[in-house]
């Protein structure tokens, strides 16, 4: 591996609004061609962070380097980056073509060259060429997404930023666009920095994910690492429904406080356990009797809400004879200690 400078390097990047710190000394290097996603709940500072990266806002402290060059004080219109906005921010008084050509027009590219490039970009985002003269106001939701993407690509940016562009799109279309975006990333080889509140969305597309909380990165890792080894209950909570079991020290060793069972080899204050790791039957490491309090069909799997002692757990079971449990029934469940991710907070 040659020593390329990182595509984008953040050092102690901070943004305060009055007494509130929205982005709190964030430092990270993002590699060339990486698909890097920042996930966080609303108010976590992720939008402020991406605005700092794009140059739409100025950091209170810290610095920002693009391929080794200091761009901290460079305004957005001079940065070789482009953003796809949450609202898309398409120019509604203009056509699809004029939107895509905007950055080129600002650079003074002659009209014929602009047009040729715009048509090329339309193909790249899978829109028919006859969309070129249409007013953007006549485009559907998905088409507007593609126009916004083509417009950002039209400035030939070194880095593309995405500020939750898919948040207002319905589920099925979102799934399609996620895959297209991932393919586009692979084809263009550009660095993508993506903001979302959905870890699910991040998992599908990203090379690396940062979980953001209160202006800081709580955990940075590959999707697999985040999924298997969350560092905190907060990260674990982002993965949707998950069992978090408190562990306490009693007598000789650790016990699951609510289950009242021994927790040999416990390595943290809480055990994070995915619902599919809780299985009917007693063949795994830790077994317990539980009452089924709710039964929900999820399609290929069935979810059971369980009560065992003071603990409430969720189990998900693949369709089959094992999933044949009814509400009120008491059955044996178990899980493997190896499936547990240990967290301290």
């Amino acid at each position: 591996m040659t020593h390329l400078p990182p595509a984008l390097s953040l050092t102690g990047l901070t943004r305060r609004f009055g007494t509130k710190t929205a982005v709190d000394a964030v430092s990270i290097d993002i590699a060339e061609g990486e698909f890097f996603t920042i996930v966080g709940p609303s108010g976590s500072g992720k939008s402020t962070l991406v605005r700092l990266l794009a140059g739409l806002d100025v950091p209170t402290a810290g610095s920002l380097h693009l391929r080794g060059r200091d761009i901290t004080d460079m305004p957005a219109n001079r940065r070789p980056t482009a953003m796809v906005f949450q609202s898309l921010a398409l120019f509604d008084h203009r056509t699809v073509g004029q939107n895509i050509e905007f950055a080129m027009k600002m650079k003074g590219v002659p009209p014929e060259a602009r047009r040729a490039r715009a048509l090329e970009l339309l193909r790249l985002v899978r829109l028919p060429e006859d969309y070129y003269p249409r007013p953007v106001t006549q485009c559907s939701g998905g088409e507007r997404q593609r126009v916004a993407l083509a417009r950002a690509l039209g400035s030939d940016p070194e880095i593309l930023f995405f500020d939750e562009p898919l948040s207002a799109i319905d589920y099925r279309l979102r799934k399609t666009l996620e895959v297209e975006l991932k393919e586009l990333h692979q084809r263009t080889g550009k660095t993508f920095i993506y903001i979302t509140h959905s870890l699910e969305e991040a998992m599908v597309m990203s090379d690396r994910i940062a979980i953001m909380r209160a202006g800081r990165f709580e955990q940075i890792g590959t999707p697999d690492e985040i999924y298997r080894r969350p560092h905190s209950r907060f990260v674990a909570g982002f993965m949707g429904e998950v069992n978090i079991l408190p562990v306490s020290q009693a007598g000789g060793g650790a016990v699951f406080t609510d289950l009242g069972l021994a927790a040999p080899g416990a390595a943290g204050a809480f055990a994070v356990l995915r619902p599919e790791a809780v299985r009917p039957g007693g063949d795994a490491g830790v077994g317990f009797d539980a009452e089924v309090t709710q039964r929900l069909m999820l399609g290929s799997r069935t979810q059971f809400h369980l009560r065992a002692g003071a603990a409430a757990l969720i189990a998900e079971v693949a369709a089959g004879p094992q999933a044949d449990l009814q509400i009120g029934q008491v059955a044996r469940f178990s899980f493997d200690m190896a499936d547990i991710a240990w967290v301290d907070a």
């Binding site: 794009a54 957005a76 219109n77 906005f85 921010a89 398409l90 120019f91 950055a103 600002m106 039209g154």
Partner: protein
């Protein structure tokens, strides 16, 4: 629903009556202008366009229109400029004091116009400023600028400010952002604002009464001549004045269409 048809007819009748009532006086003015006697006895014995010929020959007609026009043009320019800038503060930016600004802005609209005119007259006289068409421009502006600001603000509220950031992010300079994004997006609002300003100024009576001094705009002349010295010339000039304003509006609309056509790609 039973009786639905009858209700519909009642509704049509009601709306028809309202519209008719609104237009009867206007039609009456047109009818009155077609007489040739000083004392009107309708139906006229002789239907004639004499009054229009007299109006066309009378230099007063031109003077009245010129004064009204110069007031209206100044008011349009003033209110569009100030209104666009003011709308930025009203609807585009969130700033400390915006709430207060929004409330203060509407006060001249909710104010009796003749009283405003009188107050302006009194203070100008106190300061030794002689009322003329220029002071009428000021009086009109105090009332019309806030209205135009609201009209442009309506447009601005429906406008995604992120468009400006997107343009900036795509390499546009601040000036280019204004020229390529902000102004074109606001243009429909600015244009409607200009039309409003023109029509409101052209037809205004209560503000002009006390502030225009020796320069008499159309509505004021009509007001004084209906009371004294009536002749069919009065309704004729009323009709001409209204048609002229209509023509100017149509011309502006056509111009806008032509300009829009040029900017739109084929």
């Amino acid at each position: 629903m039973r009786g639905g048809r009858h209700i519909l007819w009642l509704k049509v009748l009601w709306v028809g009556t309202v519209v008719t009532a609104l237009y009867l006086p206007i039609v009456s003015v047109v009818l009155a202008s077609l007489a040739n006697t000083r004392y009107m006895r309708f139906p006229h014995k002789v239907w004639t366009l004499d009054a229009y010929r007299a109006a066309a020959a009378d230099y007063t007609t031109v003077t009245l229109h010129v004064i009204s026009l110069q007031i209206a043009v100044c008011v349009v320019l003033l209110s569009v400029t100030l209104g666009t800038i003011g709308a930025m503060a009203y609807a585009r930016h969130d700033w400390r004091g915006r709430g207060l600004f929004q409330k203060i802005l509407v006060l001249p609209i909710f104010f009796p116009q003749p009283v405003l005119g009188l107050a302006l007259l009194l203070s100008m006289s106190a300061l030794g400023i002689a009322p003329s068409w220029k002071t009428a421009v000021v009086a009109h502006a105090v009332w019309i600028v806030p209205i135009v600001t609201l009209v442009i603000s309506i447009r601005l509220f429906g406008y995604d400010v992120a468009q400006e950031e997107a343009a900036f992010d795509l390499g546009a300079s601040r000036w280019q952002v204004a020229r390529e994004v902000t102004l074109p997006a606001l243009w429909p609002g600015i244009f409607s604002g200009a039309l409003f300003a023109f029509l409101l100024s052209w037809s205004n009576l209560p503000l002009s009464v006390y502030t225009s001094g020796a320069d008499t705009p159309l509505p004021l002349w009509l007001f004084s001549r209906t009371a004294t010295n009536y002749s069919p010339l009065v309704p004729a000039i009323a009709v001409i004045g209204t048609c002229v304003s209509g023509l100017i509006v149509v011309m502006l609309l056509l111009m806008r269409r032509l300009l829009a056509g040029k900017n739109q790609p084929v």
